[in-house]
Structure formats: C-alpha cells, structure tokens
C-alpha cells in the first residue's frame, strides 16, 4: 500500500529542502506533505556555503537560477581558500574544478609534479582556471565546449540560509505543502511496532502521518530522543565541538570563494554574500575557552558586526541509523561534520536523493532502510576522511591542537591514501562520494604533502616539451581568467538583489 501522508519535523534548510524535493516529486498526486516548525525554537541560523551539487538539486526543482540568487542574496563560489593550514602564512584554493587538462590521458597534475621535482617553481594553482579566476575575483558560467579551459570547473553558491529556507518554503507551499507553526511536545508511537504515529504541538494540533522525516536539527527529536537510534561519535578524529557565528558588513572586493583560516585551536570562516559577510569560528573547547574563541573571531573580522555572536555546540559523528522504522533523519539530526568543506547541505541533498530513490510503501521493508543507511554511511565516512586530511596534512606544531593531530592514528583508508600520494602522486579514488581526485590533490599539495616521485608515463614528453606544454597551459589559464568578467559585475548583470557598486 502506498504512503499518503508525510510529516516533516523542522523548517530549517534540511526541512524545507526535503519539503521542496518531495513536493516536486509528488506534484500531481494525493500525497499530503505537512511541515511543522517552531519559531520559538528557531533554526541553527548558519550554513551559507555550498558545493556544486546544489545546482543539480535546484535544477531538479525547476528553480530559475537568477530568481534564486536574488531571493537568497547569493554570490557565486569557485572554491574555498585555505589560509595557514600547511604552515602559518600559507594559502591555497581548493577549486571546484580541475588542474589544466589531461595530456596523453594522464591527469595534468602528474606533469606538474614532475616539473616541480625539476625545480619548476610555479604553483599547481597557476594551471587551474577556477583558481586563477577566483583569485582575480572573476566569474563566468562554465563553457559548454569541453575542449576549452573555461569548461574545466563547476561552481556553487554562498547564500543566506534563512532566505534559502524561505525561498524553498514558498516553493513548497505553492506545490501544496502544509506548514504548521508550533512546538512539538508530544510524540505518539505504535506500541506494537514502535513506529511513530503522530506528533502533537503545544497548542494541541495533532499531525498524523505514515512517514516522518526528522529535520529537527541537532536534537534529533524523532530519530534519537524517541527512537534511540544511537550516534557514532567521531570526535576522536574531528574533535572541534563548538562554533560562534557572526555576520558583518561587506568589506572589500566581492570574491567568489569562501575562506577558511586555521587558528591555534580551530579555524575561522568567511563567506561573502551580496549584502553581508558570514563569519564564524569553529574550535575545540579543550584548548580554548568560549571567551577566547570569541576574541579570536572578532579580532579577525574585516567588517562591522551586524548582530550578536551566535554560540553553537556540536559533536561530530553520525547516527547509527539514519532511517529507523518510519523515520528518516535528514540534516543536523542525521549527523554533523564541521563545515570546513561546506558539506552539510550536500549531505542533506544526498539524503533527499536517496530517500526519493528508496521511497517506502507502508510496509516499511527492511531492505529500503538498510540500503539507505548503507549509502549514507558511505557518504558521511568519505566526507570525514577528507575533512581530517586538512588537519593532518600540516607542519604546524604551534599549539596543543596541532600536536594532537600530529600524533593521531588515522583511519586506515586515509592513511593509505596519503601514503600512495606521497610515494608517487597516486590518488586512491572512489566513485561514490563528494570529492574527486582533484580535490584531494588540492588539499595535499596546498598543505605541503608532496610526492617524492612522479608517474613515469609523464616522461613520454621530453623535458623541453614538458616545460613548453606547462607554460602554454599556464598562459592559457591566465589569459582565459583575465578575459573573464568580474564577479560583482557578473552578479549585477545576472540580477543581484542589491547594487554591487564598490564591490569590485
């Protein structure tokens, strides 16, 4: 039998993304979708930087990109700039795209790797179109002609998360989602099978449903507080457990990238939006107090604070079961990995996609849930390894936190990956997961983890040919980036919500 009633608990980014995704899928059916959210509780209020995958999500919903950007005051994002990670004073960009173009079917970075060992001092970044365009503060859409260097990248957005939720709310409501405002205080379960049957709000409103999506944030009201699904604690690998966020007035040129600057006991983010800049610090309270963290954050702001700092607490890890009985947890209720690579919204999206693919009937077969759980486990684990790489690929030893990472026993999967890279520039790749080989290359090279040797296929080019081809690639990237429109100007012409004057 088909399911006809879905209840989503929570109206943050996860709740409204899920509501929009389901509403779109069940557009012409009698499916009833209800979303409950509590203004009193509010949302986490952060989550502004995304990965390119989000474009696919918006496209599936049929959202007009310009309208979305205006509504969410979004900027374009070509990657993340990492400062002070390998050593204090270092910086690199992890781009959403590739380095150069393959030669003889061998990825370009192998050629650079050899030339580096032969004293080419140019950065790998110099051969990446998205990096150079980002550094120059430029933006364009990728070229459809795959032979062109301007086709070798993807892009994402930086947006106001509350505006994104609002935008999706109107999308969902237009497609028939019913929104109920109220704090859920009572949850009924079926005594026989333990399934949740209804939610009741403080004001007495009862919501019955067959399927419940828990988007209630860190508290995991259904998945954990009610169903006790359990949490796998990953804090031994990713021990940062607190954050403070603060918005500031825009300052300087509007750059198309997020910045993550390493600090002694954590790191600080900077996310430029059209109308303001999002900032925050993520830290490990073992080594820095909340007051000190706030001090570090505020002394490194480049604009006027626009609100009071927002203090957040978390524990990295993931639910043992994302889907348990008739509840599927999506968003912070499913797990949390610090926002170093903007992966939370991506994981929300993967959760929604997997739910749509494995959408249950009212028998709730174990095979649907187990497939979902296996898929999501893999996605979370792979993000975890990638995040951890940032902390361990470093020469920093200037604080107890960095020393903790230097002495850490890594997950085997990550240890082998690092070894293969260091030995010969080989990337152990996988098919399913957010980060493809160029991302791993970016972080390892950017954080001074460099191979001792190079792939011998590269030697098919003579030293002169190699030098000439690298130089030609560098110039091609430089000239393409130079010919690219400025980010602010591009935004303005695409339809920014506010004037971009003075932003570059």
């Amino acid at each position: 039998m088909k399911i006809n009633k879905i209840c989503i608990l929570g109206g943050g980014t996860a709740g409204w993304m899920t509501a929009a995704g389901l509403a779109r899928k069940f557009e012409n059916t009698d499916m009833e979708i209800t979303l409950v959210e509590s203004e009193q509780i509010g949302t986490v209020g952060v989550g502004e930087a995304t990965l390119p995958h989000i474009r696919f999500f918006n496209n599936t919903l049929g959202i007009d990109e310009a309208e979305f950007m205006r509504a969410t005051k979004a900027t374009f994002k070509l990657g993340i700039e990492f400062c002070d990670w390998g050593r204090v004073g270092d910086r690199y960009i992890h781009p959403f795209g590739d380095y150069g173009q393959a030669i003889n079917h061998v990825p370009f970075y192998h050629y650079w790797n050899k030339s580096r060992l032969y004293r080419n001092t140019s950065r790998l970044d110099d051969y990446s179109y998205p990096i150079i365009a980002a550094e120059m503060g430029r933006f364009r859409f990728p070229d459809k002609d795959h032979t062109k260097i301007e086709s070798t990248f993807g892009y994402a957005y930086q947006f106001d998360s509350s505006l994104y939720a609002r935008f999706l709310r109107s999308y969902g409501e237009d497609k028939g989602v019913t929104r109920i405002e109220g704090k859920v205080t009572d949850i009924q379960t079926d005594p026989e099978n333990g399934h949740i049957t209804s939610l009741r709000t403080e004001s007495g409103c009862v919501i019955n449903a067959e399927l419940f999506i828990d988007c209630s944030g860190f508290r995991g009201l259904l998945i954990e507080q009610t169903l006790k699904s359990g949490y796998e604690d990953w804090s031994k690998w990713l021990p940062c457990n607190r954050a403070i966020a603060i918005p500031t007035a825009s300052a300087g040129k509007l750059m198309p990238f997020t910045r993550a600057t390493a600090r002694k006991a954590g790191w600080q983010w900077r996310i430029p939006l059209q109308h303001r800049t999002g900032n925050g610090i993520v830290y490990w309270n073992e080594y820095i107090s909340d007051d000190e963290a706030r001090h570090v954050l505020t002394t490194h702001l480049d604009g006027e604070p626009l609100a009071d700092p927002n203090q957040l607490y978390f524990l990295t890890g993931k639910r043992n079961l994302f889907w348990n009985k008739n509840v599927v947890a999506i968003g912070l209720s499913a797990g949390f990995l610090e926002p170093l690579e903007s992966t939370s919204i991506y994981l929300i999206q993967e959760g929604i996609t997997a739910l749509l693919e494995l959408f249950p009937d009212n028998q709730f077969r174990a095979s649907d849930a187990s497939e979902y759980n296996a898929k999501m486990d893999l996605y979370f684990e792979r993000v975890r390894d990638f995040l951890l790489l940032h902390y361990v690929a470093t020469e920093r030893d200037d604080s107890p936190m960095w020393n903790y990472f230097r002495n850490m026993k890594l997950p085997l999967s990550l240890e082998e990956k690092i070894k293969a890279w260091q030995t010969r520039g080989h990337i152990i790749e996988y098919e399913f997961g957010a980060f493809l080989p160029p991302s791993w290359v970016a972080v390892m090279v950017g954080q001074r983890l460099l191979p001792l040797r190079y792939d011998r296929r590269v030697d098919l080019l003579s030293q002169d040919e190699l030098t000439a081809q690298l130089e030609a690639m560098r110039l091609e990237v430089l000239s393409a980036a130079t010919d690219t429109t400025g980010h602010a100007a591009f935004l303005q012409s695409f339809g920014a919500a506010i004037p971009m004057d003075g932003k570059g």
Binding site: K2, K25, F26, E27, N28, T29, T60, N104, H105, E357, L358, F359, D361, R365, S367, D368, E371, A374, E416, K419, A420, T423, R424, H426, I428, E429, Y430, E431, F432, R453, Y454, D455, R456, R457, D459, L460
Partner: protein, 470 residues
C-alpha cells in the same frame, strides 16, 4: 634503499603477453628497457578470454596502437552488440547487449516503465533487437537516433590479435628473445630474477609474468573448479552480430561470427568434451603483485568466459599496470594498490557471473550444481534483493559492469521487481504504454533500416580499403 626502475621483463606468450608489451612500449619512456621473453612450452588457453570485448576495448586497442580500421582490415575481428544467451537454465533467452544509460523520462528511468508494464525489456534495447535480427551499424552521434544509445564490442580470434600486435609492436628498445624457463631466483625473498634452462640469468628490475594459467614462474594459485575447453572454426554463418551462448547440462557452448569464419568454444566439466584443447582451473592469485613480480592475465586469474569479464579484467589490469608502473625498487605501495583494485574488479566480475546462476527452478545438472555449491556472496544478495524489491540497482565503487549491464541481466534472468517507481503513478497507464510503445516503434523502424551485420562489415572493409589504398 630504493633505486629507479630501468628495466622490465615481460615473459610468457599469447594475448596477454603481446598486449602488455604493446602497452608498455607505447606508454613508458625510452630509458626503461623492455625485454620480451617468449617462453616455450606453454599451452595456449587464450580462447578462455572468451572472444568478446566490452565497448571500452575501442580506446584500449587505440592505446595499444591498434585503431579500428587496423583491426578490421588486418584481422578477422568483427563488431558485436553483446551476447545472446539461449536456453540458459533450460528456459531463459535474452541478449546481454552493451548499452549506454537508458533514457530518463519525467525524471523516471526507462526501466521502471518496463517494470510497471511488466513488458519484455529487450524490446526497448535497440542493439538487442538489431542483434537478434542479425543487423549492425555503428551508433551515430545524433542523440535523437535510438541507435545512438547502443554500444558495441569486438569479437575476435585471440591468435589473430596476438599476431597483429606482435607485428605492430616494433619499438627499438624492445628486445625480443625466447627461452625455456628454469627457475625464479630471489634475493632475500624480495627481489626476483629469472634463470633459463640454458643457464642464462636474466636480471631485471621488474617482472611481468604473462605466461598463463600454469605459469611456471609461480604457484599460489587459489583454485576453484576445473574446466575443459575446445575451440573449432567453421564456415561463416551470415547474419550474426552477437556472441551466442547456449547452456548444456555439463557446461556451455559459444559461437562468434568473425569476418570470414565462425569461432566455436565449448566449455564444460571434466569428461564432458571429447578431445579437449586444454584443461584449466578457475581461480586467482590472491596477491598478483608481490615484490618486483607481477602476474597478469591468466597467470593472475582465470574467469569462465561467460561474459566479457575475462577481457575486461585483462584490459583493466594492463591499464592499472601503466598507471601504477613502479617508480622505484620499493614497490610496496604500488603492489598494495594494484592488488586491491584488481581484487575488487575480479570480485565484481564474479558477482556478475555468479548472478547468472541465481535462478529459481534452476536445472539440477552437474554443471549448475557445481557453480552453485556455495551460497551467493552477500554483496550479490544485496543487489538481487534491491532489484527484486523495487528495480533498484545497487552499485559498488568502480564496478567493471555498469548499472545498465546489471539491469539487462536481471530482466534477462526473469527477475521481475515487486514494486515499480511510485512516481509513475503520476502518469496514466496510457502515457506509460505510449512512451514505451514509441520507443519500441522507433527501434523497430531503425532496425529495419540497418544492414545485416555481415554486409555492414564487408562494406566497411571495402570503404577502409579504398581509403587506405589497400
């Protein structure tokens, strides 16, 4: 201390040997000396590579210096849309064709439409329909043409390709010699060199062993069941553009149509074929790469050639060797990664082949009993359970067989999902059947226009001869 690699020795004979030599000599820099040691006294079991490649062989052959015109003009190689299984398990007939991703309509995959209508899936696969009608044409680029979704592999005679590669691989630094193997010598159990029966000692930095199933160079082959096999050639049958496989109680028989002759292969349990060409054990080396020794081809693993799996594995192992060619005498990292990837590929191919035996009402034949005498692996159970439950295709990382291959196989084996994609409920029965009907009509009309496979290859050949002035 680790030293740079200056030399590699490839030893063996036959298909894997020549392919490896071609790949290394075209893709390794000139300062690495390649010695080709043709070993005498080896049994030729290359027919156990199965006479059929996957579509990716097009690029692979290119990387070995063989483009398609060369293959067609200078060998008997022919095109193939896949494999037609006949009377599989006594009652199943389907075409395991090579297909690009299926169309998606209204965000719903085409195969879900077929699940919903309980329609025979093969009607919606252009190369299945064309193949069964003996038709062939190269898939065009025009996405509106239903044939653009078809893919093709090659059917070939391994001895033919071996000879072609041998004549094409003439790099100056390739030193060819022959001999009879005597023993493998090892320094502290870590670095191997090789001695011939005339006492010649061959010292090298790296050995690639392509000497086949009963490689004299090494043991440790983890053996499963044993098969015997026999090939024979006969006059060409017009109008076959698929490999055909027919099961029998003791094994199976296949036939491929080359350009000028048909090539038969019979495979079965011991005692099932009179005068077999050879006996072979199905199995693998757990660690094909150990120290400076790498076993490749049948020296590393033997898979029953029921699908293109043996050629896929050979191809992927050679490609892997290129991307992991050792950079120093310490090959620990390379060996570990190679063994991991190669093991995964083998496991995934075995899942695909084992899946062909997971059938209700399977015959009680000796052959069938032997293959199914151990339970299906958990990873396969998960795939089958998901497909049966809702037509969902579970995929593991970097599987050699694609999702389309699995879907075609599941349907071919009569697996009918219990549920269809619920989003189809938003369409009327009429809309659903119209979509499928339209596709099927387009396919039929296109197939009518396609020439018989034998005529196509003859014309193609004539065209190439003219173009190349042959």
């Amino acid at each position: 201390m680790s030293a740079p690699i200056k030399s590699v020795l490839v030893c063996g004979s036959g298909l894997a040997y020549e392919m490896t030599l071609a790949a290394l000599s075209l893709n390794l820099p000139g300062d690495i000396q390649i010695t080709a040691l043709q070993l005498g006294g080896l049994v030729n079991r290359d027919s156990f590579y199965g006479h059929l490649t996957a579509p990716s062989a097009y690029n692979f052959f290119l990387s070995l210096g063989l483009d398609e015109p060369n293959l067609i003009l200078n060998s008997q190689t022919n095109f193939s849309f896949g494999t037609a299984y006949e009377s599989w398990a006594g009652h199943l007939n389907w075409t395991q064709c090579f297909h690009q991703p299926f169309p998606v309509w209204d965000n719903i995959a085409m195969h879900q439409y077929a699940v919903h209508m309980k329609a025979p899936f093969s009607a919606f696969l252009i190369n299945s329909v064309a193949g069964l009608n003996g038709r062939f044409a190269h898939p065009p680029h025009d996405k509106n043409n239903p044939l653009s979704r078809a893919e093709y592999g090659y059917v070939f005679d391994p001895d033919d390709i071996t000879a072609l590669l041998r004549s094409a691989t003439t790099s100056a630094r390739l030193v060819r010699q022959s001999g009879v193997f005597s023993k493998l010598l090892s320094k502290n159990g870590t670095h191997y060199s090789l001695e011939l029966d005339d006492g010649t000692l061959i010292e090298t930095d790296f050995i690639v062993d392509c000497s086949g199933y009963d490689s004299p160079l090494s043991e440790n082959f983890e053996l499963g069941a044993t098969r015997i096999a026999k090939t024979n050639k006969e006059a060409v049958t017009p109008g076959i553009s698929l490999k055909h496989i027919k099961a029998n109680p003791m094994g199976w028989e296949s036939v491929v149509r080359l350009q000028r002759e048909n090539l038969h292969l019979s495979v079965g349990l011991e005692g099932s074929i009179s005068d077999p060409d050879y006996v072979v054990g199905i199995g693998r080396k757990l660690s094909p790469w150990k120290s400076n020794y790498l076993a490749l081809g049948h020296a590393a693993c033997v898979v029953e050639p029921l699908t293109p799996a043996p050629m896929m594995l050979l191809q992927r192992d050679i490609e892997r060797l290129l991307s992991l060619f050792p950079v120093s005498s310490d090959m620990t990292v390379e060996a570990k990664e190679y063994n991991r990837l190669s093991g995964n590929d083998l496991e995934h191919c075995q899942l695909f082949q084992r899946s062909m035996f997971e059938i209700k009402n399977a015959p009680k034949s000796a052959y069938w009993n032997q293959v199914t005498n151990t339970p299906a692996p958990k990873k396969l159970e998960r795939k089958i359970e998901q497909f049966l439950s809702r037509g969902y295709v579970t995929m593991y990382d970097l599987e050699p067989f694609h999702a389309e291959d699995w879907i075609i196989q599941h349907f071919g084996l009569g697996r009918q999902p219990e549920r269809y994609d619920i989003y189809l409920d938003q369409l009327s029965e009429k809309q659903i059947s119209q979509r499928l009907g339209q596709l099927s009509a387009n396919i039929n009309s296109m197939v009518q226009k396609m020439p018989p496979g034998d005529r196509y290859v003859q014309n193609f050949r004539r065209y190439l001869e003219k173009k190349h002035g042959v």
